[in-house]
Amino acid sequence: MTTRWITWLDERLGLSAIYNTVLDRKVPKVNWSFTLGSATLFLAVTQATTGIFLTAYYVPHPEQAYASINYIMNDVAFGWLIRGIHHWGATLMVITVFLHMLRTFFYGAYKYPREITWITGVFLLLLTLGSGFTGYLLPWNQRAYWATTVGTSITETIPFIGPFINEALRGGSELSTLTLVRFFSAHIWMIPAALFVLIGVHMYLVVRLGISHIPSEDE
């Protein structure tokens, strides 16, 4: 019965071709460090899912942001769980992205023909860090406020254009409602949109080129 349905759908959608191409790829003999990319992808999807749920209650306004998060943590059923996964998942994702990069680097897997996979990976690293940075402000508590004050002030040290970048990030000379809303917008729309497009490119290249083997001593 199930097989009949699967056959019916497959005839029309060609799902098995996608399945075979994406999941039944030939891979060289590898080790557990080759699962770090999948782990990162899993975390990205988890972050997106829990993040979408968080927007059901969170309000990006200086007077309400902290109160709304308090509400999520203390009054909403499983709010602590959803936010907890989002909070720890963010930290974990930065770690897996980094380890994934280190593995690629030390195995020399960024070489021909995988340069573009590496370059999109660099941008994915930056976008992941950007997600973490913008998300950190959203609780609008003391730690968030001062971390963002310091974080945006760092850009000011760039010669000539530093002050301009600082004000562009903050939406003014000081942290304000504008800062909170633009960080929120970046956190839930701009960065994730760019992130998932680049994940698509990154994974297309992984499927297209396959993964490289562990280099042997004489390579």
């Binding site: 899912t49 909403v76 059923a77 499983f78």
Partner: protein, 167 residues
């Protein structure tokens, strides 16, 4: 070893597929099931309202004209989520001969728009779907399923009070 597992009808490949599907379902359930409760949560609990069968004074009965419905509004604040919001109420009071009263909620019984008294028609009209109610709250025409809702009332030292049921 490999031979063994084949005899039992499961190879390494389908074992791994089974484990992945099993663990995947658990992970999906761990996020998915609480997420349902998470989204439904505020709808399933009391709004944190302060109203517990409170008697609300509407005004002096001497100020009411017999046979003429009068709209009296008041509001009550309640805690919704992390905010205190004002909930406003509109009550139509009709003083009838013999010191009896009709006390109607202005919430239309159809889909909760607000009705208003039209002097020239001597009817309550709901503008949303053209519901017409008589001066006694009865249905004249329109889609509404029942007459206007009434409140329990009492008169205390010349003041009309209504009982606001817990919401």
């Amino acid at each position: 070893m490999g031979q063994d597992s084949h005899e039992h009808g499961m190879d390494r490949r389908s074992f791994v597929a089974g484990v992945v599907a099993f663990l995947g379902s658990i992970i999906a359930a761990v996020i998915g099931l609480p997420a349902i409760g998470y989204l439904l949560s505020p709808g399933l609990r009391k709004s944190g309202s302060v109203l517990t069968d409170e008697w609300v004074p509407l005004g002096l009965v001497d100020e009411l004209i017999v046979g003429e419905p009068k709209l009296i509004s008041f509001s009550r604040t309640q805690r919704v989520g992390w905010e205190t919001t004002a909930q406003s109420y509109g009550i139509y009071v009709l003083r009838k001969p013999g010191n009896t009263y009709d006390v109607f909620s202005n919430v239309c019984t159809h889909l909760s728009c607000r009705v208003s008294w039209k002097e020239e028609l001597s009817e309550y009209i709901c503008p949303c779907h053209d519901g017409h109610f008589g001066i006694d709250g009865s249905i004249i025409s329109g889609p509404q399923p029942r007459p206007l809702d009434t409140f329990e009332y009492r008169v205390e030292e010349g003041t009309l009070m209504i009982k606001l049921a817990e919401v």
